[in-house]
């Protein structure tokens, strides 16, 4: 019995343990603004369905207007950080709010740094 339990635990641990090769270990967010952005994203994810449904009632020509006004009030009551409009696509490494390329989630400076050191897959200096 103990052997079977141990075997199960071993299998679980084996999958979790990563290879000994080192990667960047980041235990903190770059700054507080990044943290707030993370909170906003989480809330937006949680309330996404509700917002969608209440908005479907609001942006309607069939339902009576009183119902739509009630829906307006309801959506205003939701937490402010739950709306997706407040999310800002910051740079993942430096938390720079501007000059961020969406595909890599990196600011232009970091992108250039990595590309010059040949650490961006498939990126080459343009020359034509």
């Amino acid at each position: 019995m103990a052997a079977s339990v141990l075997g199960w635990a071993l299998r679980a641990a084996r999958q979790v343990v990563s290879s000994p090769c080192t990667r960047q270990a980041r235990s903190y967010y770059v700054d507080w603004r990044m943290l707030r952005d993370v909170k906003r994203r989480k809330l937006a994810y949680e309330y996404a369905d509700e917002r969608l449904r209440i908005n479907a009632i609001r942006k309607n020509t069939i339902l009576p207007k009183e119902l739509q006004e009630v829906a307006d009030k309801e959506i205003a009551d939701l937490p402010r950080d739950s709306c997706p409009v407040r999310i800002r696509n910051r740079c993942v490494l430096t938390s720079r709010p501007r000059g961020v390329k969406r595909r890599w989630r990196l600011s232009r400076i970091v992108f250039r740094h990595f590309a010059d050191h040949a650490q961006m897959s498939g990126i080459q200096r343009a020359m034509w």
Binding site: M1, V16, V17, E66
Partner: protein
């Protein structure tokens, strides 16, 4: 040599008191070369039908016939005896005539007489045992096994077809080789079914393994987990090459599994009609009025949505149902 053999004959007749058929046979065979003598004896005494022994003896006989050197003959005969004899003790006593015959045979061999005698007696004992076994019906009768079999003949044309089937260079639309359709194990030429025929008793029924009853396992202690982690960390060697690295990444989930499965991680067991015909969920709604109109539009939109699962769609509709029920009083005012 005939005179020498005749004198030997007289000696043997003089030495023995009771001459039985076997003894006489053995004496008759002394006229032949000692090589063939043993062959005849063993051929007469042989009772067992087992295939392996047959093969062995056939092989040894062929070897004997090919061997021209007389010295080699008896040597190989002795070795054959060693092969075929066992050293286990039998409880049943042999008839004294056979014992005497064995001793006579041994005496005529140039080899170590006692050894050959003991070997011959052991052989005799084994024969007795097999005869008893056969009388009881315990040994595997090879005839039963072979009776069911039939020799399969492969015409050269068929053979060519089979080889060409293995090397099929046709490519499917996806770029995968077309495998020649495998014959089901039942569709053979002989059209035999698997369950017809006498039981052969070749295999013993494996005793059903005692299944470990579901023991109530307490959740693994922290020490167990730590130990397991330690072992995993030690045994996990760094990848030796790129392939092993990719394997590791695939296990961790960093790398997708190739060929890419578009539905990986998506287990939608529902049929298409459950996605499209969602009107049955609208039973609780009023059948007239703007709300019904609104919900029908919602359903139309959901039926065209390929990204949601059936459960999510049902939840969507139920949320609306709850919402409108809460607003009933308001709606009745209107």
């Amino acid at each position: 040599t005939s005179s020498v053999l005749s004198t030997k004959k007289d000696e043997s007749t003089a030495s023995k008191d009771s001459t039985t058929e076997v003894a006489s046979k053995s004496q008759e065979s002394t006229a032949e070369t000692p090589k063939q003598k043993l062959l005849d004896i063993i051929g007469n005494m042989k009772v067992e039908v087992s295939y392996r022994k047959k093969l062995q003896q056939l092989k040894t006989r062929e070897i004997k016939k090919q061997a021209t050197n007389k010295l080699e003959g008896p040597d190989s005969k002795g070795s054959m005896l060693q092969k075929t004899t066992e050293d286990t003790q039998r409880g049943k006593p042999l008839s004294p005539e056979l014992v005497e015959a064995a001793s006579a045979v041994a005496s005529f061999l140039p080899l170590n007489k006692k050894q050959t005698e003991s070997e011959l007696i052991a052989q005799l004992r084994r024969h007795e045992e097999t005869t008893d076994k056969q009388k009881k019906g315990g040994t595997i009768n090879i005839r039963n096994v072979i009776s069911e079999m039939a020799v399969k003949r492969q015409s050269p044309a068929q053979r060519g077809v089979r080889i060409s089937n293995r090397i099929s260079l046709e490519l499917d639309e996806d770029g995968q080789r077309i495998k020649p359709e495998r014959l089901s194990p039942q569709s053979f030429d002989s059209k035999r079914s698997l369950k017809v025929g006498r039981r052969l008793n070749i295999f013993t029924k494996a005793s059903t393994g005692t299944e470990n009853a579901l023991k109530t396992v307490s959740s693994p202690t922290i020490w167990d987990l730590e130990f397991a982690k330690e072992i995993a960390a030690i045994t996990a060697q760094p990848p030796r090459n790129g392939f092993e690295e990719m394997i590791q990444w695939t296990k961790e989930g960093i790398l997708w599994e190739f060929p890419i499965d578009n539905e990986a991680g998506m287990e939608d067991d529902a049929e298409f009609h459950e996605h499209i015909f969602l009107e049955k969920h609208l039973e609780d709604f009023p059948k007239q009025g703007p709300i019904r109109h609104f919900m029908e539009l919602v359903i139309c939109g959901l039926s065209k949505n390929p990204y949601l699962s059936v459960k999510q769609k049902i939840e969507h509709i139920e949320w609306f149902q709850k919402y409108f029920e809460e607003k009933k009083e308001l709606l009745q005012e209107i």
